[in-house]
Structures are given as structure tokens and as C-alpha cells.
């Protein structure tokens, strides 16, 4: 009964206002019209500011990218390939005395080596050894006739090698080759990530509506997974230590030194999956797992001769690793493709500069790189592949640490997907080579694409 009475009272009021109309003053539309005009101008202004900032960010990145590329190109053009010289010091009187003896023996030794190489290749039905022998029959060089580069640190090594290939006389005439420590430019990543605060002028509306409107524009992505791939270039920044390894004496080959030098720039690509989580309005955390593949060309005249007389592609970087086990031969110059593979586990913090349908974020973080293997392939196909994996005998550190810096320009597709372009830099903060082999701090700059699936 009470409810009915109350409803009657309420219904009476409801009915009274159902079709009620009251004309507002003309000023309402005037003010509304004025407001709409201002809002249109403001919207246009915000749009202009947005594109201005986007353009500024793109230009800044392009400038930084261009400056780095130019810098490294210039550095690499001045880069002197490390040269391994098999020689003895001419100023060393002891060596001079020895060299006289060696010179006497050199003809015989060369003949001996040549015949062994030939017989080796004949017995195995292979032309590998022959291919290593230049037209002038140079296999190893006579130690006493090398021209000594000023920068090279050369030692004469009287120690004989227990070399399965060489005989007693041959070993006596071999000199140990020392690797020169060549200065390599040290690169440090400097600069600050500039934080840009975006100030949006909102129309005069009630607080709750403004919050709602802001929410609509700003994405509310909280958790996502992405797959991505990137490709680019890298600079190896290799500086190998002083390493001696075997070379033969031979007066006829004095104009050739044992050396390997990498190209100044290699190519790199990576594929991987990542997981991202928003920590606050602007900050995000991303992590994942990536496969990295870095390939670079080498010019080398060194080959590793295996116990079974098979010759494999070889570079000076591995000299330390090889010196105690196999012999290293000086050959005709040939080209090598060196491919290093890593698994990388990155963790990055990201700052969202623009968080809308179009997004722009800056990422920075660290990655633990796990070395898988390095493969050296003779481009001509005459020498066998040489592979180095991880482990205690490897010249490579199994784990190394890299710094990451990049940006991500993205576009939201539908409600669940986001496609992004991600230029970035990766610098090995710790050497990928073990300290006894030298240092190698890789600098990679690449351009990636990521496809993001937004969970919530």
C-alpha cells in the first residue's frame, strides 16, 4: 500500500515533466557555438603539436642514427686490420744468427713441406692442400725474410712444435707468429634520453567527463606479447691479444705475412618473442627471448690444418685456441664468412611518450647474451667449415652483457593488436671474446618490426 501511494506521487511528478519543454535563452547557443569553435581550433593545435613532436622525435633519431653510422664508418676506414707476422726481429742478434742457420735449411724444408702437402692431398684425393699453395709454391714463410712492421710485436720462437704434419727439420725452422695488439677505437654510448612531457589542453568539462575522455584517447593496454624480427648492421670492435702461432720459414715468400682482417661492418638479424607489462601510466617493462645472428666477412690467409690433414677456414682471432692443438698455415688470401649465433634474454624499461592509437616509446635496458656458436665458412668452398661452440675451450665467453637502447613507433590495429617499427642499438658491455683471446664489443644498430597481441 505504501509503495502504491509513493508511486502515485512519483508518477504524478514523472508525468508532469514527461513532455515538458522550456526554451533556453539565445545566449546558450552563442556560448556553445563559441566553445565549439575554440575546441576545433584547440584540436587542430593539438594535432599540429602531436605531429611536430613526432617529426622532431623522428628527426632526432635519424640524426643520432646517421651520426653513429658516419662515426663508425669513419672509424672503420682508419682501422688497420690486425696482421699477424711470422718473423723474427731483425734487430735481434740472436735471431739473426738463427736466421742464418734457418736460411740454409729453408730450401730443404720447403721442399719437404711441399712434398708432404702434395702427398697429403694426393692420398686423400683432395685438392685442399694444393689450393693452399700459391703459384710460387708458398706454404709457409721463411722467418728470416719478413719485413717487420713497426707496430707488430714479433717474437722469435725457438720452441719446436709437436706437429703431426711437420717433421723434425721442419719444426726447427718454424717461427712462432705473434699477434700485434692493434689499437681499436673505444666506443662509449653517451647521451641522454630526452623526456618529453605532453601537455594536452582539455576543454572545460566536468572532471569525470575529462577523465573519461582522456581514458578513451589513452590506451589501457596492460599486458601483451609480441613477436618481432630486426635486421641491421654491426661493427665487431675486435681487439685480439698477442698470440704466437706456427709459420714456416722460407726465403722465397718474404713478401707475404699471415693475417686476417674482418670487414668493418657486418650484417645482423634477430627474431624473438617478448612479453610486456605496463607498470604505470607511462612506464612499461618488457622482456623476452631472442635469437641473434651476426655475419661478417673476413679476409684471411690463415688456415687451420687438422690432424687428419684437412684444412679449415681460420682467422687470427682463434689463434690462441688453436696454437696448442693444430697447426696454422699461411695460405693464399681467401674470403671467409663468419657467423656468430647467440640467444639473448633482454629486459627493458620503456617510457611511453605517446600513448594513443599511434604510440611512441623509448626503450632502454640490458640483455644477457648466451653464445651458441661461431662458424667460419670459406666463400670459395675450398676449405672446410670451422665451428667454435661455447665452453671452456672456446675463445668465446658463454655469457656476455649488452646494453640496449631503442624506440618503438607503433600503430594500434583493432582492439587487440599493435604493429610497430623499432629502430635500436645494442652494445656488448662485456666482451664476447675471453680475455686471453682479446676483446670484442659488438655494436649493432638495427630496424625491427614487432607485432603485438594485447591480452588486456
Amino acid at each position: 500500500m505504501k509503495n502504491t501511494e509513493r508511486q502515485k506521487f512519483d508518477d504524478a511528478w514523472q508525468n508532469a515533466f514527461q513532455q515538458a519543454e522550456q526554451t533556453p535563452s539565445a545566449e546558450v547557443w552563442s556560448a556553445l557555438d563559441h566553445h565549439l569553435t575554440q575546441a576545433e581550433g584547440g584540436k587542430m593545435k593539438r594535432r599540429v603539436i602531436f605531429y611536430q613532436r613526432l617529426a622532431a622525435a623522428a628527426i632526432l633519431f635519424a640524426l643520432a642514427f646517421g651520426a653513429l653510422t658516419t662515426y663508425y664508418a669513419r672509424e672503420q676506414s682508419d682501422y688497420v686490420p690486425k696482421e699477424v707476422v711470422s718473423s723474427q726481429k731483425t734487430e735481434n742478434s740472436i735471431a739473426n744468427n738463427e736466421s742464418k742457420n734457418l736460411a740454409d735449411n729453408s730450401s730443404e724444408e720447403l721442399k719437404s713441406i711441399d712434398s708432404k702437402l702434395k702427398s697429403s692431398s694426393n692420398t686423400q684425393g683432395s685438392s685442399i692442400a694444393n689450393s693452399l699453395i700459391p703459384q710460387d709454391n708458398t706454404v709457409v714463410m721463411a722467418s728470416q725474410q719478413f719485413v717487420m712492421p713497426d707496430s707488430a710485436h714479433v717474437k722469435y720462437n725457438q720452441r719446436q712444435h709437436a706437429d703431426s704434419f711437420s717433421g723434425r727439420d721442419y719444426n726447427r725452422g718454424l717461427a712462432r707468429i705473434s699477434l700485434a695488439d692493434l689499437p681499436t677505437p673505444e666506443i662509449s654510448l653517451q647521451g641522454k634520453v630526452r623526456e618529453v612531457t605532453i601537455v594536452r589542453k582539455l576543454p572545460a568539462m566536468p572532471a569525470s567527463f575529462m577523465a573519461e575522455s582522456k581514458r578513451n584517447k589513452r590506451t589501457d593496454e596492460d599486458l601483451w606479447a609480441s613477436i618481432g624480427a630486426a635486421t641491421g648492421n654491426y661493427s665487431p670492435q675486435v681487439n685480439t691479444g698477442s698470440v704466437n702461432y706456427a709459420a714456416a720459414s722460407g726465403g722465397a715468400f718474404s713478401n707475404r705475412s699471415a693475417a686476417s682482417s674482418s670487414d668493418s661492418r657486418g650484417s645482423a638479424y634477430s627474431v624473438g618473442v617478448n612479453l610486456g607489462k605496463r607498470l604505470s601510466d607511462r612506464w612499461i617493462l618488457q622482456g623476452g627471448i631472442n635469437y641473434l645472428n651476426q655475419a661478417i666477412g673476413y679476409n684471411s690467409n690463415i688456415a687451420s690444418l687438422q690432424p687428419n690433414n684437412q684444412a679449415k677456414a681460420f682467422v687470427a682471432d682463434y689463434a690462441l685456441q688453436e696454437q696448442n692443438t693444430n697447426s696454422v698455415l699461411v695460405t693464399s688470401p681467401y674470403e671467409i664468412n663468419s657467423v656468430s649465433e647467440f640467444i639473448s634474454v633482454p629486459v627493458q624499461a620503456g617510457y611511453l611518450l605517446i600513448d594513443r592509437k599511434v604510440g611512441l616509446q623509448l626503450n632502454s635496458g640490458l640483455a644477457t647474451d648466451i653464445f651458441l656458436q661461431n662458424t667460419l665458412t670459406d666463400k670459395s668452398g675450398q676449405l672446410d667449415k670451422y665451428s667454435e661452440g661455447a665452453g671452456t675451450d672456446s675463445p668465446y665467453n658463454t655469457f656476455s652483457l649488452s646494453g640496449l637502447l631503442g624506440s618503438e613507433l607503433s600503430y594500434k590495429i583493432g582492439t587487440q593488436y599493435r604493429l610497430s617499427v623499432a629502430p635500436g642499438l645494442r652494445y656488448s658491455m662485456s666482451s664476447v671474446l675471453k680475455s686471453e683471446s682479446g676483446t670484442a664489443n659488438l655494436l649493432v644498430w638495427d630496424l625491427g618490426f614487432r607485432f603485438r597481441y594485447i591480452f588486456k
Partner: protein, 185 residues
Amino acid sequence: MLSEIELIKGCVKEDRAAQKALYERYCRKMMVVCQRYAKSTLEAEDALQEGFVKVFASIKEFRQESRLDTWMTRVMINTALNQQRQKLYLLPMVDVTEIEMAEDSEISLSSFHLSELIAMIQSLPDGCRLVFNLFAIEGYSHKEIAEMLGISEGTSKSQYSRAKSLLKMKLNQHSVYEKYRETKV
């Protein structure tokens, strides 16, 4: 004359002529809504202007699942509530589980002019005015009102009860309600 769909499409494109046409078609009805929630005509016109700004800004999100004027009324109510929200903390937080209403007979407000009814509602205290509008005229339950205004259900009931008794008193003061009761008796 543009159809409702054409008006909506025009407003989505931010066409000023369509916006004006929409305003002219619904401003009178919306003005009454704003007047019921406001304390004065000036305040109501402010709410009306802000309400239309919101309508134009968010009309692209209107899914046509309800009538346009119903959706616009909700926008106006929200706008008016936002304007009044700061006054809500002044509402007495009374938890009332059961409000005893005085028994009423059937009433008619047809003899009242619209401006008189609006004036009666506007004369109510802020909390009473909001709750009465939401409960009696918009048809929300006390639970919904409590959630909308961030108050307890008991507070909503007590505000409504007070609003009702105040309105009855005002109706009595105009003698019409009294006369009506006499004739019924």
C-alpha cells in the same frame, strides 16, 4: 528537415549546421532536465551548454541502442550531477533501513504550471533535489542512486523522504493539494 540519423551523422562529422539543428530540436526538452537539477535558470543554462558540448564530443560513441533523446537526457543528468557533485559531501549520511511514508491519496499536478513545479524542485535542498529527481522522475532505485552519487542507500532514502515531505508542504502551501484531498474525502 533532417532525420535523426542524418543529424547524428552530421554531428559525427562535426558539421556546425547539423550541430545547431540537433541543438534546436532538443534544447527545450533538455533545458527542463537541467532546470530540475539546477538551483537556478542560470545554472541550468550552464549545465545545458556543457551537456551539449559532451553530446557533440561523444556522439560518435552513440550506438543507437536507445532513443537519441534518452541518451541525451542521460548525458544532461550526468553533467548536472557533476556540477552538483561537490555539494554531495554535505549530505547527511543517515543509514535508514525503512522509511515510513505518510499515506497519500492520488494527486494531480496538472493544475500547476511547469515553472511552478520547477521552482518547487529548485527550492529543495541540494541532496534532496538530486535524489528526488533521480528516484521519482528518472525512475532509478535507491541502490542505483547510492552507487551514482557515492552515498549509502539509507542516505538516498532519507533524502528522498525529506524531499517528498517538503514538496507536499509546498503543494499544501499552494492550497491545491489540500483542496484536492478535500474533494477526494
